[in-house]
């Protein structure tokens, strides 16, 4: 079986400011397949916490518009997860 690829998948960072924004993240986790990097699950998300999650190429637009609608600032930590996976092997053989 070919390994799973993560082309154009992104890792986003958001910091929900209040309970309302926290619930937006939790709701997004239910409706989109988000992979939580930090914290490790949506139920740990609280206000003012740094939240990092991976989102598929397909899911990115809906996540982006939900964050925009809720006036939540987000940062794109990784633009293309697959590219980063390949770049992690940056040391040549001894």
């Amino acid at each position: 079986v070919a390994p799973l690829r993560f082309d154009r998948e992104k890792v986003l960072r958001v910091i929900p400011q209040d309970e309302k924004q926290t619930n937006v993240i939790k709701h997004l986790a239910q409706t989109n397949e988000l992979d939580f990097w930090y914290p490790d699950a949506p139920h740990h998300v609280t206000a003012n916490m740094t939240v990092d999650f991976r989102v598929s190429e397909k899911g990115f637009q809906s996540v982006q518009s939900a964050l925009d609608q809720s006036n939540m600032h987000y940062e794109i930590l990784i633009r293309d997860v697959q590219e980063e996976i390949e770049k992690q092997f940056d040391v040549k053989e001894d």
Partner: protein
């Protein structure tokens, strides 16, 4: 994935197994390999014992409980190499190994680690199957018997943080728990290595209550993180799991503490999110070098105070 084992690179499971054999062959006077069990997919769980004698204080260390946190097994390999290389040359390491043993489990979640290399780089759990579910895997750091059932949000097999059907239901957890229990009189500290977020954590995770020796743990964590930062000024925060990272149940750290090992720590290694689980290999060496300083401090403390 080709080529030989390297401490500056990520190594797949086959290379790590071959490396364990090589370490024993190279330094049979200080390194021995113990098979403590096997995984669901029948891979061996190896602990490397670093030290000479049996009946003396020991520190148990494990790496790679979460499959995708690759820098963690890289650190365990680095530690074994540095410890054996500097024994007889470096004053502190010689003193440590003359007086205590280290039990190092280089990869806890072997099946998951293999899966993260071959199929899914983002895999976290082990590879156990669950009846009535097509979802695979248990989060081994939710599977220990430490307030195991207290979080209802971890009881679905499809979740990345699924705690398993029962405490110690997983072969890997059971093997580690049995090994630690059978060496309980000698093990004075337990250290587990994760990534990422640059933290040094101690109990508890399942309650906001502070452990009885809280002040002692704070002191060790404070000086440990200070020692770590002397190399490259990397900043780590420290504190109890529940308030420093987030509340968790079923963690190995809380379990080991409640068993009676009063110095238990979890490192969340580099970085703070720029690369996350995809830390480039070029950062392995600096990460390991600075972490080594903190681990050596903790070991010295254990030697002096337990």
């Amino acid at each position: 994935t080709t080529g030989r084992h390297s401490y500056a690179k990520y190594n797949n499971w086959d290379k790590i197994v071959a490396w364990t054999e090589k370490m024993v062959g190279k330094r049979p006077d200080v390194v021995s390999r113990i098979k403590i069990g096997s995984t669901v997919e029948d891979n061996p769980l190896y602990v490397l014992k670093i030290g000479k004698e049996n009946e003396r204080r020991a520190i148990f260390m494990d790496c790679g409980i979460h499959a995708r946190e690759w820098v963690s097994p890289a650190f365990c390999q680095w530690f074994v190499y540095q410890a054996t290389k500097s024994y007889g040359k470096n004053k502190i390491m010689t003193k440590l190994l003359d007086r205590m043993n280290f039990y190092v489990l280089p990869v806890f979640n072997v099946d998951g680690y293999i899966w993260s290399w071959t199929q899914n780089r983002m895999w976290r759990k082990n590879r156990s199957k669950h009846p009535n579910s097509t979802c695979i895997g248990t989060d081994l750091n939710r599977n220990f018997n430490a307030s195991w059932s207290s979080s209802p949000s971890t009881n679905h097999p499809c979740m990345d943080t699924y705690r398993g059907p029962a405490p110690e239901s997983e072969k890997e957890t059971k093997a580690v728990a049995d090994f630690i229990q059978s060496h309980l009189t000698s093990i004075k500290a337990y250290i587990t290595f994760h990534s990422y977020s640059q933290m040094l954590l101690f109990p508890y995770g399942y309650t906001s209550k502070l452990p009885p020796n809280y002040k002692d743990l704070v002191k060790v964590a404070k000086i440990g993180t200070e020692a770590l930062s002397t190399q490259y000024e990397t900043r780590y925060i420290y504190g109890p799991i529940a308030s420093t990272i987030y509340p968790t149940s079923g963690s190995s750290l809380d379990w080991a503490y409640n068993l009676g090992i009063k110095h238990t720590f979890a490192f969340e290694l580099r970085d703070q999110g720029r690369f996350g689980f995809l830390l480039p290999e070029s950062r392995i060496k600096p990460t390991c070098k600075e972490t080594m300083l903190a681990v050596k401090f903790i070991a010295k403390y254990i030697l002096k105070h337990t």
